[in-house]
């Protein structure tokens, strides 16, 4: 706004009654308060988690983080097994989910006949809308028996004898455990990673793509040498968002993880995750230290997820500015 050339809108604004200005100020105040509320809630959750987790950390010290024992009967608690289970199931989910998601996104943006593009896209988005409890039920009643009778015996019979891999695929076929939980999680993160990947692939300038094809590149080469390098950082961001979801997923995992506070090398063994432990044990946690240890687990998950999401935002943000 300059004083030298007066525009019609400025004149109009000056003529408005004060009431309108007050209204605007009120509007600003309300929206600002709403925004502040988000920050306050976040800080409030963090502070209450820290306060309630203090007895556990006070009692066990930082060793709480790497102690494996979890014995409610003896009031000894350590977070190592749930942290391990959370990380391993998420890694399995990423190892399976990321390549498949990329495959779907590449198919949708580069190869798919236009007629199929919408139906497949909608199917992917519907997958994201299924409540996690349904994935849990499906994992427990359909996937787990199949894993126990077919997949796991086959893995034990083949990979179980390969030196180096034998540790990962040993033990009894329980049906539920780290691997099954990882597979269910992979299906759950699929729609998230796919839709972000598809969107970032669409940001690749048409000229770049057409020029590459013009130079005689194959679809594989265009994807490999043009599309992926162009969107690399955003892809990592999308993967991290999927990872954030996998880390915190509760109900579906609780069904198929086996809920056992142990660290075992085998991917077929039952384990537990942070959120599954909390969901399982909170209602019957009788001692103060027990409750506090569960809250401390929550705090650890908060920190892990927050870090992952912050990294994701930072990477996605750098792409938008560049």
């Amino acid at each position: 706004m300059t004083t030298t050339d007066v525009r019609p809108s400025d004149v109009e604004a000056a003529e408005r009654p004060n009431r309108a200005k007050a209204q605007d100020r009120l509007f600003l105040g309300v929206t600002r308060a709403s925004a502040a509320l988000v920050v306050l809630v976040l800080l409030g959750i963090l502070v209450s988690l820290v306060i309630d987790a203090l007895p556990a950390f006070g009692n066990f010290g930082l060793a709480f983080l790497w102690n494996e024992r979890w014995s409610p009967a003896k009031d000894i608690f350590g977070a190592a097994a749930p942290i391990y289970g959370t990380l391993v199931t998420s890694v399995i989910a990423m190892v399976i989910g990321v390549p498949v998601s990329f495959g779907i996104a590449i198919f949708l943006t580069e190869l798919c006949p236009p007629m199929l593009r919408r139906p497949i896209g909608i199917a992917i988005e519907l997958l994201a809308g299924i409540p996690s409890i349904i994935y849990g039920l499906w994992g427990f009643f359909v996937l787990a028996p199949f894993m126990q009778t077919t997949v796991q015996p086959a893995l034990i019979a083949t990979l179980g004898h390969v030196p180096g891999l034998s540790l990962l695929f040993s033990g009894a076929p329980y049906g539920i455990g780290l691997l099954t939980a990882g597979i269910v999680l992979a299906i759950m993160v699929l729609p998230f990673i796919t839709s972000i990947t598809r969107d970032v692939f669409n940001t690749v300038p048409v000229m770049l793509r057409e020029s590459a094809y013009g130079l005689g590149m194959t679809t594989w080469e265009v994807t490999r040498h043009i599309v992926i390098p162009y969107t690399r950082r955003a892809l990592v961001g999308g993967v991290m968002l999927g990872l954030g979801r996998a880390l915190g997923e509760t109900m579906a995992v609780t069904f198929v993880i086996g809920n056992s506070h142990r660290i075992a090398a085998s991917l077929l063994s039952p384990a537990t995750t942070i959120s599954a432990s909390i969901a399982n044990e909170f209602s019957e946690a009788t001692s103060g230290l027990y409750t506090s240890s569960l809250v401390a687990l929550g705090l650890i998950l908060f920190v892990i997820t927050f870090t992952v999401l912050a990294l994701a935002k930072w990477m996605l943000g750098r792409v938008e500015t560049h």
């Binding site: 003896k74 009894a172 056992s260 039952p270 946690a285």
Partner: protein, 351 residues
């Protein structure tokens, strides 16, 4: 789904504790705790309301929750499958007495073996849960079941993942029959399981065992009976093989030394007697000795007295065992001695 349910229940509990006193002073009897006893309380509450007009508002939030609520005085009584220790009772001015009994049964899923055909003993069961017996054709299991052809299949151990009174009684039994279990694991509502899968709730254990070939688990008899789970027979402390039934639970209860124990702190696992089922369990009611609201406690005790005398049939229908008459006499004597308001007993039975 159980989580959602317990959230809904605790939300309801909170809502009720605010709303009820305001609406009606002659309120329903309020209680919270053990889910093991919930079906009986529901049935009793229904009948009692029809007979007297006083209803029972019992929240099945789990034993741990029940103990917390009675300590916080948000309910008139709490119910727990694990008795409180004398110190815990004294600290909060509480007293406890058994309300109903039942049994815990091993359930299994082995192809070709029918319900009731498998026989186990304490030593073998503890070794299975310890992880030292890992296959169904182990010599120890074969020796107990000479007539069965057991498959060479891994045993998949299933236990409760949530804290549970059932787990408390089951691990108490394992501790009594196995010094190694007592030493390394101990007994509580949740323990450090050496092997196996955790499943949430009675239904979780039952479903996981049903789903998993070679699975073994434990559940309340009432739940197993109503859902036709394949249970095992057990060899008891007297060395006899018994099947789970109301009679064998009652035998365990009758042989327990209630009179000689303070605060009725008797866990009726591994009791003597030829007919006793080895893993029997009771649920205790926990109540304040010097209640703030004497009228509410009197109402509650009156209801319990009614349940001991007139509720036995309903309990039996639901596969629970009523407390034996001689024990009821001890309990009711303890009421007039312990639960006082203004220097007088709050309720005297038989008046």
């Amino acid at each position: 789904m159980t989580i959602a349910k317990s959230f809904a229940l605790s939300a309801a509990a909170v809502a009720f504790s605010f709303v009820l006193p305001a609406i009606s002073a002659a309120a329903d009897i309020s209680g919270a705790g053990s889910s093991f006893i919930y079906p009986v309380f529901a049935k009793w509450g229904d009948t009692y309301k029809k007979e007297t007009g006083i209803g029972l508002n019992y929240q099945s939030i789990g034993s741990g929750g029940g103990i917390k609520q009675i300590e916080a005085k948000t309910v008139t009584f709490g119910a727990s499958d694990k008795p409180l220790s004398d110190e815990e009772l004294d600290k909060n001015g509480l007293t406890q007495f058994p309300m109903v009994m039942g049994g815990i049964v091993p359930i299994f899923n082995v192809e070709g073996i029918k319900p009731g055909e498998l026989v186990l003993d304490g030593k073998t069961l503890s070794a299975i849960y310890m992880g030292t017996i890992t296959a169904w054709d182990d010599p120890a299991i074969k020796a107990l079941n000479p007539s069965l052809t057991l498959p060479s299949q891994p045993i998949i151990v299933v236990h409760r993942s949530d804290g549970s009174g059932t787990t408390f009684n089951f691990t108490d039994y394992l501790s009594k029959v196995s010094p190694e279990w007592k030493d390394k694991i101990g007994s509580d509502t949740a323990v450090e399981w050496p092997v196996g899968l955790g499943a949430k709730g009675s239904e979780g254990v039952a479903n996981t065992v049903k789903q998993t070939a070679g699975g073994i688990g434990y559940d309340e008899y009432a739940y197993a009976a109503q859902n036709n789970l394949s249970y095992a027979k057990m060899e008891n402390a007297a060395g006899k093989i018994v099947a789970p039934s109301l009679d064998s639970f009652a035998s365990a209860a009758a042989n327990a030394d209630w009179a000689g124990s303070k605060n009725f702190h008797v866990i009726i696992t591994n009791q003597p007697g030829d007919a006793s089922w080895p893993i029997a369990a009771s649920t205790w009611v926990i109540i304040h000795k010097a209640p703030d609201d004497a009228a509410a406690v009197a109402d509650a005790l009156k209801f319990f007295d009614w349940a001991y005398t007139k509720g036995t049939g309903a309990a039996k229908d639901l596969d629970y065992v009523a407390i034996p008459d001689n024990v009821v006499k001890l309990i009711e004597a303890s009421w007039s001695k312990d639960i006082m308001a203004g220097g007088k007993p709050v309720f005297v039975a038989g008046k």
